[in-house]
């Protein structure tokens, strides 16, 4: 026995909650080096956001929202992760040696950019891509 699954309430709510979750995920990603968070957790939160969307609007719609295939997100994540080894290898250090750059910003700020951050972004994308593959794939195979 099946029934119509979506309602206006869930749809609308999803559109409110999802941006909050995505914001939160980016936040968790960027401050993960200093406070609880990091690429995994952030990626999982981001994935939750898209899962909510997928449950509300369906897999097809989620694909459209993402624009890139989850697989490509995953590949990008892996390549980011590997890219973080490049600076160390180029400079003849052991792989995954951290490199830090301080990019001055207008005003008094500095943007701290580092290979661990690139790495964490890779983790974020990979986790997101992976879970999207799981969920969207499973949902599509049901439909």
């Amino acid at each position: 026995m099946k029934m119509k699954s979506n309602t206006v309430i869930l749809h609308t709510a999803a559109l409110f909650i999802m941006p909050l979750q995505l914001m939160f995920s980016i936040f968790l990603l960027l401050r993960g080096h200093d406070e609880p968070g990091g690429g995994f957790i952030a990626g999982l939160v981001a994935a939750s956001a898209f899962v909510l969307y997928a449950f509300s609007f369906g897999a097809e719609s989620t694909r459209k929202l993402l624009r890139v295939a989850p697989r490509d997100l995953l590949a990008a994540g892996l390549l980011f992760g590997l890219a973080s080894t490049i600076p160390s290898l180029l400079s003849g250090q052991p792989a995954l040696t951290a490199h830090w750059w301080e990019v001055p910003l207008p005003g008094d700020g500095y943007l701290k950019l580092s290979t661990p951050l690139i790495f964490d972004i890779g983790v974020y994308l990979a986790v997101l891509g992976t879970i999207m593959i799981f969920v969207v794939g499973l949902m599509e195979s049901d439909e």
Binding site: L74, L78, P94, A95
Partner: protein
């Protein structure tokens, strides 16, 4: 430090990621497959050269000092294993060009293959116990995915067993790592070894050693933990079978070698005696299992188990010669077993079956293929002067010299039964007249000529040449194995290489 030690891991990882990124272009993925695996082979040979020059090559990842960083360590054994990985990888990459069904190629075969190799290389090179767990998982997941790729019924059934039993093994591994960390507070294997050696009452270490033994025993398919292997290895497409057959179980064996020479040597009488009996029964049950089979790849699968027993025997006897034998056996077996699976794939291509009753007449129509089968098959059975003979000889000589007569007797008997199985295949597939019910013989009789058949034969010939070289020119290989064994028996060398002078 030499960066040689990191490339055998990074290259396949990169290849995997790139193949994934190039998902839509099978053509590019194929090219990357061959190019990167050739690069892997090159990198691994480079590593071996470096190791031969310096004894050990290490890299403290992230430039943090050992034991706080994950250290990649290549000793001779690890370097050998990585070279073998490179050889098998390249062979499989070439073979895959023709053997892989289109659907598999479109659904991630190449990335999976690369990442499997990455997991294998990582397992060989890491000097960190938890990192070993991670690489094991990489390897395991890649093998899961490869095993199920294609989604046929047999694959699913096989995969469920494979997955469950291997996950159990992983959980035990993780548990053991946790317990070990709880006791010695470190993860670096050299550091663990050094600390374990100072422990006065190592009873609990032996307990943890048992967990490691079981976990790696499952991965290695040792008696009585091998069930997952015969249930699954014959189910995927043949290049995958070959890859598994050659490399995967050997990672378990490698881990056993590593743990039970470097770390758990505090109670050798106990631990290695258990290993000894496990090894004997592994040899025996494996070979008997094969004797009951009538399917090409199933026979070969059971033989993996029995051969694992020989390798474990080398470890269990724990004499210099025995370890040499174990290492030699690993080298020989990886090449030979992969090759046999590849040959089975060719006969499958010719006649469309792996069942012995549906095969026949290959010797008549394809004598060269028959020779290409005989080389690895007789080598596996330990017929001189092929590689397997010397491997077996060393182990048996070590057994006799260690006065382990019963076990040696079993090893000899198993050799005979191995020959029996190989001859069974030979007689049924090659000698026997083509059964009358087999009608699709156009390929066998050469009436259909496939365009890229060279890709089937190049790896098979290449591996056969390796077998012949190991056999006929065994001295350098022996010396290599001897170097590896010497290092294994002197853990202090490893410890010094990783931790340097600075001891925490």
């Amino acid at each position: 430090m030499s960066s040689a030690v990191v490339y055998p891991i990074l290259l396949p990882l990169l290849a995997g990621a790139l193949s994934l990124a190039l998902w839509r272009s099978v053509r590019w993925q194929r090219t990357l497959g061959v190019v990167f695996n050739a690069a892997l082979l090159w990198a691994s040979i480079w590593l071996l050269q470096e190791v031969m020059e310096h004894g050990f090559v290490t890299m403290e990842m992230g430039s943090w000092p050992a034991p706080f960083s994950i250290v990649l360590v290549a000793d001779v054994l690890a370097a050998i294993m990585v070279v073998l990985t490179g050889i098998i990888g390249l062979a499989i990459a070439i073979y895959s060009l023709v053997s892989t069904p289109r659907g598999h190629e479109k659904f991630g075969y190449y990335p999976l293959m690369h990442l499997l190799l990455a997991g294998v290389a990582g397992s060989f090179l890491t000097g960190d116990i938890f990192n070993l767990f991670v690489w094991f998982e990489v390897m395991l997941l890649a093998s899961f995915a490869l095993l199920t790729l294609g989604g046929e019924r047999a694959q699913m059934e096989g995969a469920i067993k494979y997955v469950t039993l291997n996950l159990f093994s992983s959980a035990i591994f993780l548990t053991a790592v946790g317990l070990l960390y709880g006791m010695v507070g470190t993860l670096n294997m050299a550091d663990i070894a050094q600390k374990v050696a100072q422990v006065e009452d190592p009873g609990m270490l032996t307990v943890v050693a048992m967990l490691f033994m079981v976990s790696f025993g499952i991965k290695a398919a040792a008696f009585p933990l091998f069930f997952w292997l015969p249930a699954s290895y014959h189910t995927p497409q043949v290049a995958v079978s070959a890859l598994f057959a050659g490399l995967l179980t050997k990672v378990g064996v490698y881990a056993l070698f590593r743990m039970f020479t470097l770390i758990f040597t505090q109670d050798v009488d106990y631990t290695h005696t258990i290993l000894l009996w496990a090894a004997s029964l592994t040899m025996l049950t494996g070979v008997l299992g094969a004797a009951a089979q009538f399917e090409f790849r199933r026979i070969l699968s059971f033989h993996i188990i029995s051969q694992i027993g020989y390798m474990m025997l080398g470890l269990a006897l724990y004499t210099p010669l025995a370890l040499i034998g174990g290492v030699f056996y690993i080298m020989h077996h990886i090449i030979v077993k992969t090759n046999l699976f590849l040959v089975s794939g060719i006969t499958y291509r010719l006649l469309g079956s792996y069942e012995l009753k549906d095969l026949g007449g290959v010797y008549k129509h394809k004598p060269w293929l028959a020779i290409l089968f005989l080389i690895p098959a007789l080598s596996l059975a330990g017929i001189p002067p092929l590689s397997g003979f010397f491997a077996k000889f060393i182990v048996i000589r070590a057994g006799i010299e260690a006065e382990a007569y019963v076990v040696t007797g079993i090893a000899l008997l198993v050799g005979l039964l191995t020959l029996y199985s190989m001859i069974k295949i030979w007689a049924e597939v090659f000698w026997k007249k083509l059964p009358e019910h087999v009608t699709n013989t156009a390929r066998l009789e050469g009436r259909i000529k496939d365009k890229h058949n060279w890709a089937f034969y190049v790896p098979v010939v290449g591996l056969a040449v390796c077998t012949l070289i190991i056999g006929l020119n065994g001295q350098p290989i022996y010396e290599l194995a001897e170097k590896a064994a010497t290092q294994l028996l002197n853990p202090q060398l490893y410890i010094d290489a990783v931790l340097g002078g600075q001891q925490p």
